[in-house]
């Protein structure tokens, strides 16, 4: 694909036109000598942490930022080293990245594509960031990923669950460690079958935007494969706060499972409303009515309070995991901040380490070298078991957790219990799976 990248000569040529047109002195930027955007100068390297600091996902953003700060500490050889000690790759030595001390800039995405791109651009254009990471929603992640592709820096996605991020909107410069809607469906389905049987009628309430649709599609496909029937799928406005008028019809629909394809505030409210309407106490044809929330987040679970108890869902990672990597991470995060990290914090921490490691192994900050180092990279010791960064779509393949809201939490953090660790083989799919079709990675773009 020549279309998605811009030849370096083209930039220089158009630059010359601009210079002549505006009669300004033409200096070639220092960066273009190195052959890629924002090649680190001196003995430091700048990373850009672009997270929601205002708006409804500000709490997730704050947790992500904590994880980033921790990762920077560990990369620079401060603190206890966290998962650096358990990471299967030993290229990182705790002396920064390639001997350059890691510095960072932060920005506020406001959970808006525009604001997120503006913030990322300022990091690239002003602060000289060579990698951008973060985000707590798919729209933002996709928007920033596209930007990084055009600008020629690496994007390490934070919390983004939509299939599109590594499906129709995948980009060569973008990488996602977090799991996605398809994986949620694939991981949940067997557990749903074993817990609730194969003869169920599901009613979907779906947030009426891209993420909601792909999520619903994935779950419906996975459950229908079990023999479940999808009775209805109702789209709810994003701005909805009271879901009572969507919940009420569920009672008479004959359905015996309610699937809430909601996230964030939507999820808290729809779940709260569903519980209020007594859905969980209902018996339909001798079967206990059940509610499923495919994507769980512990921070959101806290917002839902009591209502979360006994509800099944999936999550990327949970602090109660007992592998060495998770334990090391929880230990150093908990010691520093006094509470356990969220899955958003985990994925952001891991992404930072993975980037640094790829640079170290490649021996260069050049995005194309980083892409090459990450593509097809197999690693372990970062909390999700053996993991593969697949070359075809830059999606990580690893175990997925099926969790349930805990009935008797021992603390305010102890809200979810792991029901099953679904093995990686079960959530894998072909790169050209129809739910992910449509996009192309293109070629890596080193920028300037």
């Amino acid at each position: 694909m020549t279309k998605t990248t811009m030849s370096r000569r083209g930039v220089l040529k158009t630059g010359a036109i601009a210079g002549a047109g505006l009669a300004l002195p033409t200096y070639l930027s220092a960066a273009s000598h190195a052959g890629f955007t924002n090649a680190p100068q001196g003995d430091t390297v700048t990373l850009g942490f672009n997270v929601p600091q205002s708006g409804p996902y500000a709490d997730e953003g704050a947790d992500e930022l904590r994880a980033y700060e921790l990762a920077v500490e560990h990369l620079n050889g401060e603190g206890d080293g966290g998962m650096l000690n358990t990471f299967s790759s030993k290229a990182l030595e705790g002396n920064g990245i390639l001997g350059k001390k890691v510095e960072y800039v932060t920005g506020d995405t406001q959970t808006k594509s525009d604001a997120a791109r503006a913030s990322a651009k300022s990091m690239i254009e002003k602060d000289g960031a060579v990698m951008i990471t973060g985000g707590s929603s798919s729209g933002v992640a996709i928007a920033v990923q596209g930007l990084c592709q055009e600008a020629g820096v690496i994007f390490m996605a934070g919390l983004t669950h939509s299939n599109d991020t590594t499906g129709k909107d995948k980009k060569a410069n973008g990488f996602r460690h977090f799991f996605n809607g398809y994986m949620s469906g694939a991981a949940l389905a067997p557990v749903l079958e074993s817990q609730y049987g194969s003869d169920r009628k599901a009613y979907h309430l779906t947030a009426d935007y891209t993420w909601g649709w792909t999520q619903q599609e994935s779950i419906a496909a996975a459950t229908e494969a079990l023999g479940w029937e999808t009775v209805n799928n109702v789209l709810t406005p994003l701005a909805q706060t009271d879901f009572s008028s969507y919940i009420a019809p569920v009672l008479n629909s004959g359905a015996d499972v309610l699937v809430l394809n909601h996230y964030g505030g939507n999820m808290v409210n729809s779940l709260t409303n569903a519980v209020q309407f007594g859905l969980r106490e209902k018996m339909i044809d001798g079967k206990q009515f059940e509610i499923v929330v495919p994507l769980f987040s512990r921070l959101m679970a806290r917002g839902a309070g009591e209502n979360i108890k006994g509800i099944l869902g999936s999550t990327n990672w949970h602090w109660s995991l007992q592998d060495e990597g998770s334990k090391a991470f929880v230990q150093s995060f908990g010691t520093k901040y006094g509470f356990p990290p969220s899955q958003a914090a985990h994925t952001c921490y891991v992404q930072t380490l993975l980037y640094a490691d790829a640079v170290a192994r490649a021996g260069s900050f050049n995005p194309c070298a980083v892409v090459e180092a990450l593509e097809g990279f197999e690693f372990d010791g970062l909390g999700n078991g053996p993991t593969l960064y697949r070359a075809e779509d830059h999606q990580c393949f690893k175990d997925v957790l099926v969790v349930r809201g805990k009935e008797n939490p021992t603390s305010e953090f102890d809200l979810l219990e792991v029901v099953e660790v679904t093995p990686r083989a079960q959530v894998e799919y072909a790169p050209d799976h129809p739910m992910f079709a449509g996009g192309t990675l293109g070629e890596c773009n080193p920028g300037a």
Binding site: D242, N269, L299, M300, G305, V330, Q331
Partner: protein, 340 residues
């Protein structure tokens, strides 16, 4: 049939919140002539009164339990609310359980003070300024208030559950052969709103204070000529309007967990409600609140969304546009209000 009645109940429920906020907005507008964009923020502050009370009741001391471990492997610190140690675990737990109804008592004085301070400190200086300025300054105030709340309580919603006794579902209409299960707290909310609305109307209708205020709404100058200090009363009305919004917020907590932007979520809608009802008309505000609530409930049904895709997203605005264009003064608006 059951489904229709369910949606009517849902509509009444939603409409209750709209009506209460719109009622306060209209009171403020009618008495003080001020368009208050910070009214949604008052609703939110009310809800956070109950969050605060719950936090206060849950103030705890810590004891170390060596038999249990926390997530870092250190001995677990067990928290016991003071209130449980003072009144015994059972009474204490009951008090905590009933924190939302208790918050009503807690919120009334707070909201009155908040309203009073807002009126004396800020709004007072805007009586003579254009409506646009009033909108702008209160819009700024709304931003400031919500950011303050966010700073102290975070961005994620915080649950304020209803007492156990009121949190199940009740069967409604069994006597007339209907089988409808509806959450008890939502029924409480409707009843509470009707009570509050009735109370507000009775207060304006039957007390001397209310009569003076109504006279003042109709003709401020004449009332002042009679030597009555109408400003003082209007200030109190502002406090009352704030209290109504606040109580609506307290009671709304168990329905949807309060978060910092709930005020803005309701603000736009309640302004639409006020305008549809007719600027300055109290019955209009209440009527429009319930009407739009019910319409919104029905627009969310599968039948409606399959007939016109996306109707649930736009119904309220659509109705507002149609009403304003066909009945320019709203459903029950008076002539000459806000027409310049």
């Amino acid at each position: 049939m059951d489904a229709i009645i369910l949606q009517i109940l849902n509509g009444l429920d939603k409409g209750s919140a709209y009506a209460l906020i719109a009622l306060g907005l209209t009171l403020i507008f009618g008495t003080l002539g001020v368009v208050n964009f910070a009214h949604g923020a008052l609703f939110m502050i009310g809800a956070f009164c109950s969050v605060t009370l719950a936090k206060l009741l849950n103030l705890s001391f810590e004891t170390v339990d060596p038999t249990q471990k926390d997530f870092l492997g250190n001995p677990l610190k067990v928290k016991t609310p003071y209130i449980e140690s003072w009144f015994g675990p059972e009474v204490g737990a009951t008090i905590i359980d009933w924190s939302v109804p208790l918050a009503i008592l807690f919120a009334i004085p707070i909201m009155l003070v908040v309203g009073y301070v807002m009126e004396r400190g800020l709004i007072k200086h805007f009586y003579k300024r254009p409506h646009a300025d009033q909108i702008l300054v209160t819009f700024g105030l709304a931003i400031v208030l919500q950011e303050i709340i966010k700073f102290y309580f975070g961005a994620n919603p915080i649950q304020t559950p209803a007492p156990d006794a009121l949190s199940g579902v009740a069967s409604v209409g069994g006597a007339v052969g209907l089988n409808i299960a509806y959450p008890i707290w939502r029924l409480c909310y409707i009843a509470f709103s009707l009570l509050l609305i009735g109370g507000a109307f009775a207060f304006l209708q039957f007390t001397t204070f209310g009569m003076v205020v109504r006279a003042g709404m109709a003709d401020r100058e004449t009332v002042q000529l009679l030597g009555i200090d109408i400003d003082r009363r209007f200030t109190i009305m502002f406090g009352l309007a704030a209290a109504i919004a606040g109580l609506a917020g307290v009671m709304y907590g168990p329905i949807n967990a309060p978060n910092y932007h709930m005020g803005m979520d309701f603000l736009v809608l309640s302004f639409v409600v006020v305008v549809v009802g007719g600027m300055g008309s109290l019955p209009g505000a209440v009527l429009a609140g319930f009407l739009l609530g019910i319409l919104e409930a029905f627009a969310s049904t599968t039948w409606a969304t399959t007939t016109i895709p996306g109707i649930n997203q736009i119904i309220i605005y659509l109705v507002a546009i149609i009403v304003l264009l066909t009945r320019p003064r709203g459903l029950m608006g008076k002539k000459g209000v806000m027409e310049d």
